[in-house]
């Protein structure tokens, strides 16, 4: 980790594809239980696997984990998982919405769609993390996050099962940090240190 990031985090969005689930399962048990912002997870997966991912993550943390629902307000200390086969968007009212439009980067949910709409709402209070994966979904979202003053982080590509996605992020975006899975929980726990 490079330097301590000083900003107010009001939402953390984490996106990943192939090889990202292992990272989440490693990071989640070490998250502190009084996280002062919502965490939103967007992971590419097969349709029809609803609730498996949220159940799996819930088994690794005492944070409250649920599958995201449309019109749902984002609450601090909760973890929301994007449902399979829908895009997950953020409204200006800081509620979630779902969209069944065309796939983006061959993906639905698309990480770009979630990161971009989150950036327009949370602006410089947003942290986005892009994990292991085999396409470039999420990279444009990191770019938009930076344009709005937020923080963009990628998994250190040499620690990723499939390095393409975080490597693209590191190459194309002026990212703030590259983290190994072992460093990630400490990074997340260290956001908003005054809380």
């Amino acid at each position: 980790m490079e330097e301590t990031i000083v900003m107010r985090c009001e939402a953390l969005f984490i996106g990943g594809s192939a090889g990202s689930l292992d990272v989440l399962l490693k990071v989640f048990p070490d998250l502190k239980t009084d996280i002062s912002f919502p965490i939103v997870i967007i992971v590419h997966r097969k349709r029809g696997t609803d609730s498996l991912l949220s159940d799996l993550l819930a088994s690794r943390t005492s944070l409250k984990v649920k599958e995201a629902e449309e019109k749902e307000p984002l609450q601090n200390g909760w973890v929301y998982v994007a449902p399979a086969d829908y895009h997950l968007l953020v409204e200006q009212t800081r509620t979630l919405s779902l969209d069944y439009s065309e796939k983006v980067n061959y993906s639905r949910p698309s990480i770009d769609v979630s990161f971009q709409t989150a950036a327009e709402v949370y602006r410089d209070k947003l942290v986005c993390v892009l994990l292991s994966g085999s396409n470039a979904d999420g990279v444009e979202g990191l770019q938009v996050t930076k344009e709005h003053g937020g923080i963009a982080v990628v998994q250190r590509p040499d620690t990723a099962q499939v390095p393409y996605m975080p490597a693209q992020g590191a190459e194309r975006v002026d990212i703030d940090a590259q983290l190994s899975p072992a460093e990630m929980a400490a990074f997340i726990n260290g956001l908003n240190p005054e809380d």
């Binding site: 449309e70 829908y86 409204e91």
Partner: protein, 274 residues
């Protein structure tokens, strides 16, 4: 920088303009999704300024037609969510079959894939001959496509898998004729479907039905509009009729919820009293 886009404020102006110019009311659509689609069109058609985009929409009704086509989501499949169709076969059709005449409303039918799926289901349960499916959408262009009963041949593998997942026992390919790159579905199905424009935001009830399906439409609406549309469905549904929504949609927040009983595990509700 990412591609040029219109701001939240400009979008609000545009929505009230469109209501005034064309009577189409998008003001209760969820913004994040709507804004994405408007910006997508803005980029696709290479507008350089919001003023130019607005002028084109104001002065060119044909362009407005394109706007409606492009900003509404028309992604659909035959037998999408096979488990849903399986529940229709198991829980709903046997009860509908007790009626001498069956009326079904498929609201937001888009390019018709669900309407033909429904017709195939009814055909297999020997109910199609006594059924009328009213399939509606606000977008005339998709209805035109829907009424052809022709879908890309390349999708048939997926649709066939969906069909089998729904409990279909026949050879799916027996329902269509392959013609170049298209699959043309038998006219027998088309003959029981009435395609018509209907705008859920502004149009009223037009009949009474025993089954209303509206899947993945309400997710694009704000809560108050969702409530209004669900009331419209309620007033269009016979007692003991069924209402089916998309896998992420619900009636739970509305006042009509107390007169409906949900089929456990499904997004299908049955009306208990009027």
């Amino acid at each position: 920088m990412t591609s040029p886009s219109i701001t939240d404020e400009q979008l609000e102006f545009l929505l009230s303009d469109l209501l005034e110019w064309y009577g189409y009311d998008f003001t209760d659509y969820t913004r994040a999704s709507l804004k994405r689609r408007v910006n997508r069109l803005f980029g696709l058609d290479k507008f350089v300024s919001f003023a130019e985009f607005r002028y084109q929409l104001q002065t060119d009704p044909i362009y407005f037609k394109r706007f409606v086509e492009q900003i509404t989501v028309n992604v659909t499949e035959m037998f999408r969510d096979p488990g849903f169709y399986s529940a229709l076969r198991r829980e709903v059709l046997p009860n509908l079959n007790t009626y001498p005449v069956i009326r079904i409303w498929l609201a937001g039918c888009s390019t018709g894939e669900e309407a033909y799926s429904m017709a195939i289901l009814l055909h297999e349960h020997n109910m199609l001959h006594k059924t009328l499916i009213y399939a509606t959408d606000l977008n005339p262009a998709v209805l035109e496509r829907a009424s052809r009963g022709t879908f890309p041949l390349a999708y048939m593998k997926q649709y066939s898998e969906n069909y089998i997942g729904s409990g279909g026992k026949n050879d799916f390919s027996s329902y269509y004729t392959a013609n170049y790159n298209n699959a043309k579905f038998d006219d027998h199905f088309r003959s029981k479907i009435i395609f018509s424009t209907h705008n859920l935001v502004s149009d009223h009830s037009f009949n009474e039905f025993q089954l209303i399906l509206c899947r993945n439409v309400l997710i694009y609406f704000e809560r108050n509009l969702q409530g209004k549309v669900l009331e419209l469905f309620d007033s269009s549904l016979e007692n003991l009729g069924y209402l089916a929504l998309g896998s992420k949609e619900t009636i739970d927040f509305t006042s009509i919820a107390k007169t409906y009983k949900r089929i456990p595990g499904e997004k299908i509700w049955r009306k208990r009293s009027s």
